[in-house]
Amino acid sequence: MRSNKAMEIGTGLFVLLGFAAMFFLVTQITSREVGFGERSYRIGAAFEQVGGLKPGAPVSMSGVTVGRVESIGYDFDAYQAEVVLRIESRYDRIPDDSDAAIYTAGLLGGQYVGIGPGGSETFLQDGDQIEFTQSAIVLENLISKFLFSRAEEAGTEEME
């Protein structure tokens, strides 16, 4: 029965190694997402312009990721984009007068929501809304504004 024993040990080693490898792939090379389960809470924020913001984008405070964008919808009552943010429960002391803005990571990077803390003594709860928001900067709008203002300046100079 020696060959049988060797076979069983070999199979056991192979199966264990295989599952270890799967575990490695799932846990070690992927980022651990912020728990979208019970240990998080939702807050909303309305933006004039969300630009290229996508669900799953990070929500950060001072560069620390505290949550993720859960969904982006359009609110036809306010004619604004309604963004739902999922914040991890351990970050439960965000003042309720905090502001949210959409930033771009680097010049060409993905967009994320940055929360700047306010000074209030009461904190945001599940279902609350962030009042102060700043829209994403759309590069094309900036360029066109710049070009129009230059053209206007040139026009007024000619009139004079």
């Binding site: 069983e8 080693l13 192979f14 295989g18 490898a21 799967m22 490695f24 980022s31």
Partner: protein
Amino acid sequence: MSSGPLASIREVGRYALFVGGLVAEVPRALLRPGLVVQQVYNAGALSLVIVMLSGLFVGMVLGLQGFDLLERFGSEESLGTAAALGLVKELGPVVTALLFAGRAGTALASEIGLMRATDQLAAMEMMAVDPVRRVVVPRFLGGVISMPLLAAIFSMIGIYGAQLVGVQMMGVDPGQFWSQMRGAVEQADVMEGVIKSVVFGLSCSAIAVYEGFHAAPTAEGVGRATTRTVVLSSVMVLLLDYMLTAILL
């Protein structure tokens, strides 16, 4: 066997019926796990060394080529991402399936083919033992179980191979290598690789046992069956890989 379009269609039909019969027998085969475990050993554990060795070298080549390519754009830190995505999504499942077809598929086909040629299958039928249930299904299942595990091992070793070349030899920052990888690779990417390897495991194992079971009962027939197994499996893996990538991407 006659040739022509009708014969090809008939062959496809025979394949479908055979695989359907296999799948119908799977629950019953799971009642006798001993036979399946033995085939996991034959198909998986015995392929371990070749898969690990290939994974290491494929990973090292990826490290080298990836570094050379990324250095031109000044973004060597992305090497970990490039290597991990390449291995987990493409190279792991595909190369493992090709190695599996060559190492385990041929062994399966020739073993069953020889049983056919030496009338062992007929003898089983005589003793009222269903050869499909007793011989074919455990081998099929052994292959299906082994393939995802082998592919995962291949990818893991490959990532360490890429790390060996990129970090130890080329001087990519190890922190950047791992953190960029963790930031960019998602669970869905790993799932894509697992789905691919399961599908490849199903098709490679089915082809091997079909070709062996239907081999002409001669020395030449067994040889033909093994050759057909490798050729058909390889083509099917590459074809399915394109289709799966298009669906899953």
